[in-house]
Protein backbone atom coordinates (compact mmCIF):
# COMPACT_ATOMS: atom_id res chain seq x y z
CA UNK A 1 0.00 0.00 0.00
CA UNK A 2 1.29 3.42 -0.93
CA UNK A 3 1.01 6.66 0.98
CA UNK A 4 -2.07 7.80 -0.89
CA UNK A 5 -4.03 4.61 -0.51
CA UNK A 6 -3.94 4.87 3.27
CA UNK A 7 -5.51 8.29 3.42
CA UNK A 8 -7.81 9.03 0.48
CA UNK A 9 -9.78 12.22 1.06
CA UNK A 10 -13.02 12.61 -0.88
CA UNK A 11 -14.70 15.61 -2.37
CA UNK A 12 -18.36 14.96 -3.05
CA UNK A 13 -20.14 17.16 -5.58
CA UNK A 14 -23.75 16.92 -6.68
CA UNK A 15 -23.78 17.97 -10.35
CA UNK A 16 -27.54 17.55 -10.84
CA UNK A 17 -28.41 14.42 -8.91
CA UNK A 18 -31.91 13.64 -7.64
CA UNK A 19 -30.21 13.17 -4.20
CA UNK A 20 -30.71 9.40 -4.35
CA UNK A 21 -27.00 8.75 -4.94
CA UNK A 22 -26.03 11.57 -2.55
CA UNK A 23 -27.83 9.86 0.29
CA UNK A 24 -26.10 6.59 -0.58
CA UNK A 25 -22.73 8.38 -0.53
CA UNK A 26 -23.49 9.79 2.92
CA UNK A 27 -24.65 6.29 3.89
CA UNK A 28 -21.06 5.10 3.46
CA UNK A 29 -20.05 7.32 6.39
CA UNK A 30 -22.63 5.85 8.78
CA UNK A 31 -21.79 3.14 11.36
CA UNK A 32 -22.99 0.29 9.08
CA UNK A 33 -20.46 1.01 6.30
CA UNK A 34 -18.00 3.42 8.02
CA UNK A 35 -15.55 4.23 5.23
CA UNK A 36 -13.44 6.19 7.72
CA UNK A 37 -11.94 2.85 8.75
CA UNK A 38 -9.99 3.01 5.45
CA UNK A 39 -8.86 6.54 6.31
CA UNK A 40 -11.43 8.11 3.99
CA UNK A 41 -12.50 11.62 4.96
CA UNK A 42 -15.38 13.35 3.23
CA UNK A 43 -13.72 16.74 3.00
CA UNK A 44 -15.55 19.66 1.46
CA UNK A 45 -12.38 21.24 0.12
CA UNK A 46 -10.99 20.59 -3.41
CA UNK A 47 -7.55 21.82 -2.30
CA UNK A 48 -7.32 18.93 0.16
CA UNK A 49 -9.10 16.19 -1.81
CA UNK A 50 -7.61 13.21 -3.64
CA UNK A 51 -10.79 11.74 -5.11
CA UNK A 52 -13.51 13.79 -6.80
CA UNK A 53 -16.78 11.91 -6.37
CA UNK A 54 -19.58 13.28 -8.55
CA UNK A 55 -23.22 12.28 -8.60
CA UNK A 56 -25.75 13.27 -11.28
CA UNK A 57 -25.36 14.29 -14.90
CA UNK A 58 -23.78 17.57 -15.89
CA UNK A 59 -25.99 20.48 -16.94
CA UNK A 60 -24.96 23.85 -18.31
CA UNK A 61 -25.00 25.42 -14.84
CA UNK A 62 -22.85 22.83 -13.10
CA UNK A 63 -20.34 22.27 -15.93
CA UNK A 64 -18.10 25.26 -14.99
CA UNK A 65 -18.27 24.26 -11.31
CA UNK A 66 -17.16 20.70 -12.09
CA UNK A 67 -14.30 22.06 -14.20
CA UNK A 68 -13.21 24.45 -11.48
CA UNK A 69 -13.32 21.82 -8.73
CA UNK A 70 -11.25 19.49 -10.91
CA UNK A 71 -8.70 22.19 -11.64
CA UNK A 72 -8.35 23.09 -7.96
CA UNK A 73 -7.41 19.57 -6.89
CA UNK A 74 -3.68 18.84 -6.52
CA UNK A 75 -2.14 15.93 -8.46
CA UNK A 76 -2.44 12.97 -8.26
CA UNK A 77 -6.24 12.94 -8.42
CA UNK A 78 -8.97 10.50 -9.46
CA UNK A 79 -12.50 11.20 -10.64
CA UNK A 80 -15.26 8.83 -9.61
CA UNK A 81 -18.67 9.06 -11.32
CA UNK A 82 -21.32 7.61 -9.02
CA UNK A 83 -24.74 6.61 -10.34
CA UNK A 84 -25.96 6.03 -13.86
CA UNK A 85 -26.66 9.75 -14.41
CA UNK A 86 -23.06 10.63 -13.63
CA UNK A 87 -21.87 7.80 -15.90
CA UNK A 88 -23.99 8.49 -18.98
CA UNK A 89 -26.71 11.01 -18.17
CA UNK A 90 -29.14 8.22 -17.30
CA UNK A 91 -32.85 8.84 -17.80
CA UNK A 92 -32.15 12.57 -18.12
CA UNK A 93 -29.78 12.06 -21.07
CA UNK A 94 -32.16 13.49 -23.66
CA UNK A 95 -33.20 16.50 -21.56
CA UNK A 96 -32.49 19.87 -23.20
CA UNK A 97 -30.40 21.07 -20.27
CA UNK A 98 -28.33 17.93 -19.65
CA UNK A 99 -24.97 17.55 -21.38
CA UNK A 100 -24.63 13.91 -20.41
CA UNK A 101 -22.26 12.07 -18.10
CA UNK A 102 -19.40 13.71 -16.17
CA UNK A 103 -16.95 12.57 -18.89
CA UNK A 104 -18.42 15.20 -21.23
CA UNK A 105 -16.67 17.84 -19.09
CA UNK A 106 -13.71 16.27 -17.30
CA UNK A 107 -11.89 12.92 -17.66
CA UNK A 108 -13.53 10.25 -15.50
CA UNK A 109 -11.42 7.36 -14.19
CA UNK A 110 -13.95 5.09 -12.55
CA UNK A 111 -17.66 4.57 -13.22
CA UNK A 112 -20.01 3.27 -10.53
CA UNK A 113 -23.36 2.47 -12.13
CA UNK A 114 -26.67 2.05 -10.32
CA UNK A 115 -29.86 3.98 -9.65
CA UNK A 116 -29.22 4.72 -6.91
CA UNK A 117 -25.70 3.28 -6.62
CA UNK A 118 -25.52 0.93 -3.62
CA UNK A 119 -23.12 1.84 -0.79
CA UNK A 120 -21.26 -1.43 -1.40
CA UNK A 121 -20.74 -0.42 -5.04
CA UNK A 122 -19.59 3.07 -4.02
CA UNK A 123 -17.07 1.65 -1.53
CA UNK A 124 -15.90 -0.75 -4.25
CA UNK A 125 -15.40 2.23 -6.55
CA UNK A 126 -13.49 4.14 -3.88
CA UNK A 127 -11.20 1.14 -3.30
CA UNK A 128 -10.49 1.01 -7.07
CA UNK A 129 -9.91 4.79 -7.08
CA UNK A 130 -7.40 4.38 -4.27
CA UNK A 131 -5.42 1.80 -6.28
CA UNK A 132 -5.48 4.13 -9.27
CA UNK A 133 -4.20 7.00 -7.09
CA UNK A 134 -1.10 4.96 -6.26
CA UNK A 135 -0.59 4.11 -9.94
CA UNK A 136 -0.90 7.78 -10.93
CA UNK A 137 1.56 8.73 -8.23
CA UNK A 138 4.06 6.21 -9.61
CA UNK A 139 3.53 7.60 -13.11
CA UNK A 140 4.21 11.16 -11.96
CA UNK A 141 7.33 9.95 -10.20
CA UNK A 142 8.52 8.07 -13.30
CA UNK A 143 7.91 11.10 -15.53
CA UNK A 144 9.72 13.48 -13.25
CA UNK A 145 12.58 11.10 -12.54
CA UNK A 146 14.34 12.25 -9.43
CA UNK A 147 13.04 15.77 -9.71
CA UNK A 148 10.79 17.32 -7.11
CA UNK A 149 7.00 17.43 -7.34
CA UNK A 150 5.64 19.94 -9.83
CA UNK A 151 4.58 23.03 -7.97
CA UNK A 152 3.77 26.66 -8.35
CA UNK A 153 1.14 29.24 -7.79
CA UNK A 154 -2.43 28.19 -8.49
CA UNK A 155 -3.46 29.04 -12.04
CA UNK A 156 0.05 29.04 -13.42
CA UNK A 157 1.10 26.55 -16.11
CA UNK A 158 3.60 24.71 -13.96
Amino acid sequence: MGKLSKSPWLLHYDASSCNGCDIEVLDCLTPRYDVERFGVINTGDPFQADILLITGGVNSQTAPVVKQLYSQMPEPKVVLAVGICACTGGVFKECYNIRGGIDTVIPVDIYVPGCAARPEAIIDGVVKAVKLLDEKKEKIRAQKGREEQPGGTYGSEK
Binding site: K3, L4, K6, S7, T30, P31, D34, E36, R37, F38, G39, I41, N42, T43, G44, D45, F47, Q48, D50, Q72, P74, E75, P76, K137, Q149, P150, G151, G152, T153, Y154
Partner: protein, 287 residues
Protein backbone atom coordinates in the same frame (compact mmCIF):
# COMPACT_ATOMS: atom_id res chain seq x y z
CA UNK B 1 20.91 20.37 31.73
CA UNK B 2 17.47 19.03 32.64
CA UNK B 3 15.90 21.96 30.76
CA UNK B 4 17.90 21.18 27.63
CA UNK B 5 16.75 17.55 27.71
CA UNK B 6 13.13 18.68 28.13
CA UNK B 7 13.37 21.13 25.21
CA UNK B 8 14.99 18.57 22.91
CA UNK B 9 12.41 16.01 24.02
CA UNK B 10 9.62 18.47 23.20
CA UNK B 11 11.10 19.36 19.81
CA UNK B 12 11.46 15.72 18.75
CA UNK B 13 8.59 13.95 20.50
CA UNK B 14 5.78 16.55 20.50
CA UNK B 15 4.65 16.04 16.88
CA UNK B 16 4.60 12.25 17.39
CA UNK B 17 2.73 12.51 20.70
CA UNK B 18 0.32 15.06 19.19
CA UNK B 19 -0.35 12.92 16.11
CA UNK B 20 -0.81 9.81 18.26
CA UNK B 21 -3.27 11.69 20.51
CA UNK B 22 -5.09 12.80 17.36
CA UNK B 23 -5.27 9.18 16.19
CA UNK B 24 -6.61 8.04 19.56
CA UNK B 25 -9.06 10.95 19.42
CA UNK B 26 -10.37 9.76 16.03
CA UNK B 27 -10.76 6.17 17.24
CA UNK B 28 -12.55 7.22 20.45
CA UNK B 29 -14.79 9.59 18.49
CA UNK B 30 -15.67 6.79 16.06
CA UNK B 31 -16.44 4.39 18.93
CA UNK B 32 -18.64 7.02 20.57
CA UNK B 33 -20.57 7.23 17.29
CA UNK B 34 -20.86 3.43 17.00
CA UNK B 35 -18.26 3.17 14.23
CA UNK B 36 -15.03 1.22 14.02
CA UNK B 37 -12.93 4.23 13.07
CA UNK B 38 -9.53 4.49 11.40
CA UNK B 39 -6.21 3.08 12.55
CA UNK B 40 -4.53 4.88 15.48
CA UNK B 41 -1.65 5.75 13.14
CA UNK B 42 -4.00 7.43 10.63
CA UNK B 43 -2.65 10.99 11.31
CA UNK B 44 0.82 9.76 10.31
CA UNK B 45 -0.56 8.31 7.05
CA UNK B 46 -2.39 11.60 6.42
CA UNK B 47 0.77 13.62 7.03
CA UNK B 48 2.94 11.49 4.75
CA UNK B 49 0.27 11.70 2.04
CA UNK B 50 0.01 15.49 2.37
CA UNK B 51 3.77 15.83 1.96
CA UNK B 52 3.68 13.64 -1.17
CA UNK B 53 0.96 15.71 -2.87
CA UNK B 54 1.47 18.39 -5.47
CA UNK B 55 2.04 21.84 -3.99
CA UNK B 56 -0.78 24.13 -5.04
CA UNK B 57 -0.36 27.54 -3.47
CA UNK B 58 -2.68 30.46 -3.98
CA UNK B 59 0.26 32.76 -3.35
CA UNK B 60 3.89 32.55 -2.36
CA UNK B 61 3.57 34.03 1.10
CA UNK B 62 1.17 31.48 2.62
CA UNK B 63 3.79 28.78 3.07
CA UNK B 64 6.11 31.27 4.77
CA UNK B 65 3.35 32.45 7.13
CA UNK B 66 2.45 28.85 7.97
CA UNK B 67 6.10 28.11 8.69
CA UNK B 68 6.18 31.16 10.98
CA UNK B 69 3.10 29.80 12.75
CA UNK B 70 4.93 26.52 13.28
CA UNK B 71 8.13 28.31 14.32
CA UNK B 72 6.49 30.52 16.93
CA UNK B 73 4.54 27.63 18.43
CA UNK B 74 7.72 25.58 18.66
CA UNK B 75 9.53 28.48 20.38
CA UNK B 76 6.60 29.00 22.73
CA UNK B 77 6.47 25.31 23.62
CA UNK B 78 10.23 25.19 24.09
CA UNK B 79 9.94 28.07 26.56
CA UNK B 80 7.35 26.18 28.59
CA UNK B 81 9.23 22.88 28.53
CA UNK B 82 12.55 24.66 29.07
CA UNK B 83 11.17 26.06 32.33
CA UNK B 84 11.33 29.76 31.44
CA UNK B 85 8.73 32.53 31.74
CA UNK B 86 5.14 31.31 31.31
CA UNK B 87 3.87 34.81 30.50
CA UNK B 88 6.29 35.13 27.58
CA UNK B 89 5.32 31.63 26.42
CA UNK B 90 1.63 32.59 26.30
CA UNK B 91 2.37 35.87 24.48
CA UNK B 92 4.34 33.94 21.85
CA UNK B 93 1.46 31.51 21.48
CA UNK B 94 -0.86 34.41 20.61
CA UNK B 95 1.73 35.79 18.17
CA UNK B 96 1.88 32.38 16.48
CA UNK B 97 -1.89 32.40 16.07
CA UNK B 98 -1.70 35.81 14.40
CA UNK B 99 0.54 34.29 11.72
CA UNK B 100 -2.12 31.67 11.04
CA UNK B 101 -4.73 34.43 10.73
CA UNK B 102 -2.46 36.26 8.28
CA UNK B 103 -1.87 33.05 6.31
CA UNK B 104 -5.61 32.58 5.92
CA UNK B 105 -6.21 36.27 5.11
CA UNK B 106 -3.51 36.24 2.45
CA UNK B 107 -5.66 34.38 -0.09
CA UNK B 108 -8.78 35.45 -1.92
CA UNK B 109 -11.12 32.71 -0.71
CA UNK B 110 -14.08 34.21 1.19
CA UNK B 111 -14.23 31.02 3.29
CA UNK B 112 -10.62 31.36 4.41
CA UNK B 113 -11.13 35.06 5.16
CA UNK B 114 -14.22 34.30 7.20
CA UNK B 115 -12.24 31.60 9.00
CA UNK B 116 -9.53 34.15 9.78
CA UNK B 117 -12.09 36.59 11.19
CA UNK B 118 -13.56 33.83 13.35
CA UNK B 119 -10.09 32.79 14.50
CA UNK B 120 -9.57 36.33 15.79
CA UNK B 121 -12.91 36.18 17.60
CA UNK B 122 -11.80 32.93 19.19
CA UNK B 123 -8.58 34.61 20.31
CA UNK B 124 -10.64 37.35 21.92
CA UNK B 125 -12.66 34.67 23.70
CA UNK B 126 -9.81 32.65 25.23
CA UNK B 127 -7.10 35.30 25.65
CA UNK B 128 -8.40 36.94 28.90
CA UNK B 129 -8.52 33.60 30.69
CA UNK B 130 -5.12 32.52 29.39
CA UNK B 131 -3.54 35.67 30.84
CA UNK B 132 -5.41 35.25 34.13
CA UNK B 133 -4.03 31.70 34.37
CA UNK B 134 -0.49 33.13 34.15
CA UNK B 135 -1.35 35.64 36.90
CA UNK B 136 -2.85 32.77 38.91
CA UNK B 137 0.42 30.84 38.70
CA UNK B 138 2.23 33.95 39.92
CA UNK B 139 -0.07 34.33 42.92
CA UNK B 140 0.03 30.59 43.72
CA UNK B 141 3.77 30.03 43.34
CA UNK B 142 5.13 33.57 43.65
CA UNK B 143 6.82 33.45 40.25
CA UNK B 144 6.16 33.39 36.50
CA UNK B 145 9.17 31.11 36.06
CA UNK B 146 8.01 27.60 35.08
CA UNK B 147 11.18 26.07 36.53
CA UNK B 148 10.27 27.51 39.93
CA UNK B 149 6.52 26.84 39.69
CA UNK B 150 7.20 23.09 39.42
CA UNK B 151 9.33 23.29 42.57
CA UNK B 152 6.42 24.51 44.75
CA UNK B 153 5.62 22.47 47.85
CA UNK B 154 1.98 21.90 46.82
CA UNK B 155 0.39 21.69 43.38
CA UNK B 156 -0.80 25.09 42.11
CA UNK B 157 -4.23 23.55 41.38
CA UNK B 158 -5.02 23.70 45.12
CA UNK B 159 -4.84 27.49 44.91
CA UNK B 160 -6.45 27.83 41.50
CA UNK B 161 -9.14 25.16 40.89
CA UNK B 162 -11.38 27.78 39.30
CA UNK B 163 -8.67 28.68 36.81
CA UNK B 164 -8.29 25.00 35.88
CA UNK B 165 -12.04 24.74 35.25
CA UNK B 166 -12.01 27.89 33.13
CA UNK B 167 -8.94 26.73 31.22
CA UNK B 168 -10.62 23.38 30.52
CA UNK B 169 -13.57 25.32 29.11
CA UNK B 170 -11.60 27.60 26.83
CA UNK B 171 -8.98 25.05 25.75
CA UNK B 172 -11.71 23.46 23.61
CA UNK B 173 -11.06 26.44 21.33
CA UNK B 174 -7.37 25.64 21.17
CA UNK B 175 -8.01 21.96 20.52
CA UNK B 176 -10.48 23.03 17.78
CA UNK B 177 -13.25 21.05 19.40
CA UNK B 178 -16.98 21.49 19.12
CA UNK B 179 -18.85 23.64 20.27
CA UNK B 180 -16.02 26.12 19.68
CA UNK B 181 -14.66 24.93 16.30
CA UNK B 182 -15.81 28.05 14.49
CA UNK B 183 -12.75 28.90 12.41
CA UNK B 184 -12.04 25.37 11.18
CA UNK B 185 -13.03 21.89 12.15
CA UNK B 186 -11.44 18.46 12.20
CA UNK B 187 -14.78 17.09 11.11
CA UNK B 188 -16.01 17.50 7.57
CA UNK B 189 -19.37 19.02 8.44
CA UNK B 190 -18.26 22.61 8.21
CA UNK B 191 -20.62 25.28 6.94
CA UNK B 192 -17.81 27.27 5.31
CA UNK B 193 -15.82 24.53 3.61
CA UNK B 194 -12.70 24.18 5.80
CA UNK B 195 -12.60 27.71 7.17
CA UNK B 196 -9.11 28.92 7.90
CA UNK B 197 -7.45 25.98 6.10
CA UNK B 198 -9.62 26.17 2.94
CA UNK B 199 -6.82 27.18 0.58
CA UNK B 200 -4.06 25.20 2.24
CA UNK B 201 -3.19 22.04 0.34
CA UNK B 202 -0.57 19.31 0.49
CA UNK B 203 2.63 20.32 2.31
CA UNK B 204 1.17 23.66 3.52
CA UNK B 205 -1.64 21.84 5.30
CA UNK B 206 0.80 19.27 6.64
CA UNK B 207 2.88 22.08 8.22
CA UNK B 208 -0.27 23.54 9.76
CA UNK B 209 -1.16 20.08 11.16
CA UNK B 210 2.30 19.61 12.65
CA UNK B 211 2.01 23.04 14.28
CA UNK B 212 -1.33 21.96 15.75
CA UNK B 213 0.31 18.84 17.22
CA UNK B 214 3.01 20.98 18.84
CA UNK B 215 0.29 23.28 20.16
CA UNK B 216 -1.73 20.37 21.54
CA UNK B 217 1.25 19.14 23.55
CA UNK B 218 1.95 22.71 24.70
CA UNK B 219 -1.62 23.16 25.99
CA UNK B 220 -1.50 19.78 27.74
CA UNK B 221 1.83 20.93 29.22
CA UNK B 222 0.09 23.96 30.74
CA UNK B 223 -2.54 21.61 32.16
CA UNK B 224 0.25 19.49 33.64
CA UNK B 225 1.72 22.61 35.26
CA UNK B 226 -1.43 22.83 37.41
CA UNK B 227 -0.65 19.47 39.03
CA UNK B 228 3.14 19.26 39.19
CA UNK B 229 4.90 20.03 42.48
CA UNK B 230 8.29 19.21 43.98
CA UNK B 231 7.52 15.54 44.66
CA UNK B 232 8.24 12.97 41.94
CA UNK B 233 4.81 11.30 42.00
CA UNK B 234 3.10 14.51 40.92
CA UNK B 235 4.47 13.93 37.38
CA UNK B 236 2.58 10.68 36.64
CA UNK B 237 -0.48 12.19 38.36
CA UNK B 238 -0.22 15.22 36.05
CA UNK B 239 0.01 12.99 32.95
CA UNK B 240 -3.04 10.99 34.05
CA UNK B 241 -4.99 14.22 34.65
CA UNK B 242 -3.91 15.57 31.24
CA UNK B 243 -5.18 12.42 29.49
CA UNK B 244 -8.43 12.59 31.50
CA UNK B 245 -8.91 16.24 30.50
CA UNK B 246 -8.22 15.35 26.87
CA UNK B 247 -10.81 12.57 27.05
CA UNK B 248 -13.36 15.01 28.47
CA UNK B 249 -12.67 17.39 25.57
CA UNK B 250 -13.36 14.53 23.12
CA UNK B 251 -16.57 13.68 24.95
CA UNK B 252 -17.64 17.32 24.89
CA UNK B 253 -16.77 17.51 21.21
CA UNK B 254 -19.13 14.63 20.47
CA UNK B 255 -22.12 15.74 22.52
CA UNK B 256 -22.27 19.39 21.51
CA UNK B 257 -23.05 21.32 18.35
CA UNK B 258 -21.19 24.33 16.98
CA UNK B 259 -22.16 27.65 18.59
CA UNK B 260 -22.81 31.07 17.18
CA UNK B 261 -19.84 33.40 17.62
CA UNK B 262 -21.79 35.69 19.97
CA UNK B 263 -22.57 32.77 22.26
CA UNK B 264 -18.92 31.77 22.11
CA UNK B 265 -17.73 35.21 23.19
CA UNK B 266 -20.31 35.73 25.97
CA UNK B 267 -19.99 32.19 27.36
CA UNK B 268 -16.19 32.30 27.39
CA UNK B 269 -16.08 35.71 29.05
CA UNK B 270 -18.76 34.71 31.56
CA UNK B 271 -16.89 31.53 32.45
CA UNK B 272 -13.65 33.54 32.69
CA UNK B 273 -15.28 35.96 35.10
CA UNK B 274 -16.99 33.30 37.21
CA UNK B 275 -14.12 30.83 37.45
CA UNK B 276 -10.82 32.64 36.97
CA UNK B 277 -12.08 36.05 38.16
CA UNK B 278 -13.51 34.77 41.44
CA UNK B 279 -10.49 32.50 41.92
CA UNK B 280 -8.19 35.48 41.39
CA UNK B 281 -10.08 37.60 43.92
CA UNK B 282 -9.85 34.87 46.55
CA UNK B 283 -6.13 34.41 45.82
CA UNK B 284 -5.49 38.15 46.18
CA UNK B 285 -7.40 38.26 49.48
CA UNK B 286 -5.54 35.16 50.76
CA UNK B 287 -2.07 36.44 49.95
Amino acid sequence: MKAVIFVIGYLILAPFVGALLDGVDRVITARMQGRKGPCVLQPFYDLSKLFSKQMIAVNNVQLLLNLSYLGFIVISGSMLFGGTDILMCLFLLSTADMFLVMAASSDSSPFANMGAAREMLQMMAYEPLTLLVAVGFYLAAGTFHVGNIIQSAVSPVLYMPGMLLGFMFTSAIKFRKSPFDLSTSHHAHQEMVKGITTEMSGPTLAIMNIAEYYEKVLILGIFALFFINSSWWSWPVAIVFCLAIYFMEILWDNVSARLHWKTLLTSCWLVTLLTAGVNLLILILMK
